[in-house]
């Protein structure tokens, strides 16, 4: 049983999604039960995977018992285990929140939600470049349907942009994979890393073209500067639990950049090593600057949170652009924090919008909130965490990233990152005072259901928890960064015959 644990994060949501297809209409209670139970199980599996990977051993699961490099493998190391657990924790908050009524606005919410989880987990676990494409498509197709869940003009407009852009991105992904296969003759990432070491010189140009095309695709998913324009509208238009789950989608792009360029284009690749580094570094700084302006300009709380996602993307990419183990460790801590907190803020924005009646989440004078005290408290907690103020986890994450920069990089990173933090602070204080204090009339809106409170508290509560557990978490991320910095560990465990095959 234990050796099949690696496949469970993919199989479990798949089976749950299929079971949920049996009754597309009605039986709401049963569907919710299945959806929440499957997500809860996924959290347990995620904890099991982290416990298994924490020792530092890289294990793999050969699908159909075809051994690498010929078969498709799922690879478990510290990074993929961490990402799977993070996805499951985020999804649990989102799915419980959705059970308060958002899942009834369209058909088959829970099934699509599970398939989206399957795609995300698959992308984190796969060790094969083409399989990464397939799982990207699985998660994208589910996300297209989830984005349109409930319908409405704004969602469909944002959906058209999102779908067309991602389809073009998928074409580019296939071309890049094709080029890399044509040049190296393999699709297994570990095997490709080995073959790059003995690449004939005349193929180096081909490989670097393929590698940079992959960067464009991952950049589109992660929303780097020239490719982020789809993100704010899509995230602001999506239903709240879906937007919360989408907080991990940009991180799939970040993960793919981290994985592909640390493993395949690590030191052994010779002249091709770290060829993405200048691109990622400068574009990440530009993304941070643009996101800071966007945060200040946003006139709607959902749009504001969407730009906060962009700020986090810029910070994370800057960590990748520094390309040192310390920076990777810092960015992984920041990644856990920012995914959960921005997810929680999307849910919180929905709660605030529900109680303000017609004003919704727009930052204009509206009715006072019925449960304003609690909502304001949670907003304060979320704002402090996301702006990176002490004592919450954002401050620790940001300090780690700032500290990881070396002298030349500090000159650029410190002013931009700190200014963006200041912009975030200004925008969030302005939003908070408008939402909670500039109001007139009678308080309106229904009291909110307990499931919604749970979803928000579960995700935002992660921030204080990350401070309490800062020691163990940062130990784990440092070990993860060390493992990533030495791709030989992964390559050896995959390509030697001894493995953990079923």
């Amino acid at each position: 049983m234990m050796q099949h644990l690696i496949a469970l994060p993919i199989v479990l949501p798949l089976v749950a999604g299929i079971l949920l297809l049996y009754s597309r209409q009605g039986e709401t209670r049963l569907k919710r039960l299945v959806g929440v139970f499957a997500t809860l199980l996924l959290v347990v599996v995620g904890i099991g995977l982290v416990a298994r990977a924490a020792g530092g051993e890289v294990t793999y699961y050969a699908l159909g018992d075809w051994q690498p490099p010929f078969g498709i493998v799922l690879v478990l190391d510290r990074l993929s285990a961490l990402m799977v657990l993070l996805t499951a924790v985020l999804a649990l908050g989102a799915v419980v929140f959705a059970c308060a009524g958002d899942d009834e606005q369209g058909s088959n919410f829970h099934g699509l939600f599970q398939w989206q989880l399957m795609g995300i987990n698959g992308a984190f676990l796969t060790g094969d470049l083409f399989n990464l494409f397939v799982f990207f498509e699985v998660l994208l197709l589910a996300s297209y349907a989830l984005l349109l869940h409930g319908g409405g003009k704004a969602r469909i407009q944002a959906g058209v942009h999102y779908v067309v852009l991602n389809l073009a991105g998928s074409s580019l992904f296939l071309i890049a994979v094709g080029v890399l296969y044509g040049a190296t003759g393999t699709l297994n990432m570990a095997d490709m890393a080995v073959r790059l070491a003995e690449l004939p010189a005349e193929r180096a140009g081909l490989v670097s073209a393929g590698a940079l095309m992959l960067l464009v695709v991952f950049g589109l998913k992660a929303a780097i500067l020239p490719l982020y324009f789809w993100l704010p509208r899509a995230y602001a238009a999506a239903p709240a639990p879906v937007a919360a789950l989408f907080a991990i989608m940009t991180k799939v792009g970040i993960y793919a950049i981290l994985r592909v360029y640390s493993l395949i284009f690590g030191e052994q690749a010779g002249p091709l090593a770290a060829l993405e580094q200048p691109w990622v570094w400068w574009l990440s700084l530009a993304t941070l600057a643009a996101a800071g302006v966007g945060v200040l300009a946003a006139r709607d709380l959902r749009l504001l949170v969407a730009y906060l996602v962009l700020v986090s993307v810029g910070t994370l990419l800057a960590g990748i652009g520094m390309r040192s183990p310390e920076a990777t460790a810092a960015l992984l801590y920041y990644l856990v924090h920012t995914t959960l907190v921005t997810g929680g803020l999307f849910l919180l924005a929905e709660l605030i919008g529900l109680q303000r009646g017609k004003a919704g989440t727009r930052l204009v004078r509206g009715r006072p909130l019925r449960q304003g005290g609690w909502l304001a408290g949670l907003f304060f907690l979320g704002a402090v965490a996301v702006a990176g103020l002490p004592p919450l986890s954002g401050a620790i994450g940001k300090a780690l990233v700032l500290q990881a920069a070396d002298a030349g990089q500090r000159l650029w990173l410190w002013p931009i990152l700190l200014a963006t933090g200041l912009f975030t602070l200004i925008a969030l204080s302005r939003a908070g005072s408008t939402l909670f204090w500039r109001s007139r009339g009678e308080p309106g809106g229904e009291p909110l259901s307990r499931r919604r409170w749970f979803g928000v508290a579960w995700l935002l509560g992660a921030s204080p928890l990350l401070v309490v557990l800062a020691g163990p978490v940062s130990d784990y991320t440092r070990a993860t960064a060390d493992q990533l910095a030495r791709p030989a560990i992964l390559i050896d465990s995959l390509l030697s015959t001894a493995g953990d095959a079923p």
Binding site: F130, V134, E137, L141, Y144, L148, G151, G152, K153, I156, Q157, G159, V160, H161, V163, V164, L167, A168, S170, S171, L174, I175, V177, G178, V179, Y181, G182, L187
Partner: protein, 114 residues
């Protein structure tokens, strides 16, 4: 054969790219379809083009790489599903917004009829 194949792929890509950048949803959908055809052809050729090659057999020098064929099949299936989805989405957008512009905006004064 190689040059003909390369030119075909290139022309398809160029047409697809041009149509994808148009402002109406229908040309965009057609453009994406052409682009996916071009990608499939490209993927097919990435193992090297061979004529009369055998499937992999021990000791035969002239064989066809079977992996790109499997990849193309996967890519065709995924591309087909995505095209179906984007057609339906474009129709929904047309009925919700009242026009077929990708931004959902009304026709501007002086702009020609599509």
């Amino acid at each position: 054969m190689e040059s003909l194949y390369a030119i075909t792929t290139g022309v398809l890509t160029a047409c697809g790219l041009y149509l994808t950048l148009r402002g109406r949803t229908f040309p965009v959908v057609v453009g994406l379809t052409l682009l996916s055809y071009a990608v499939n052809l490209f993927l097919f050729s990435m193992g090297g083009l061979t004529t009369n090659g055998a499937a992999i057999v021990d000791g035969v020098a002239d064989y066809a790489d079977p992996l790109p064929q499997a990849l193309v099949l996967t890519a065709i299936v995924i591309g087909f599903a995505m095209t179906a989805f984007v057609v339906i989405l474009a129709m929904r957008a047309r009925s919700e917004a009242g026009n077929d512009h990708v931004d959902g905006r009304k026709r501007e004064v002086g702009e020609e009829r599509p």
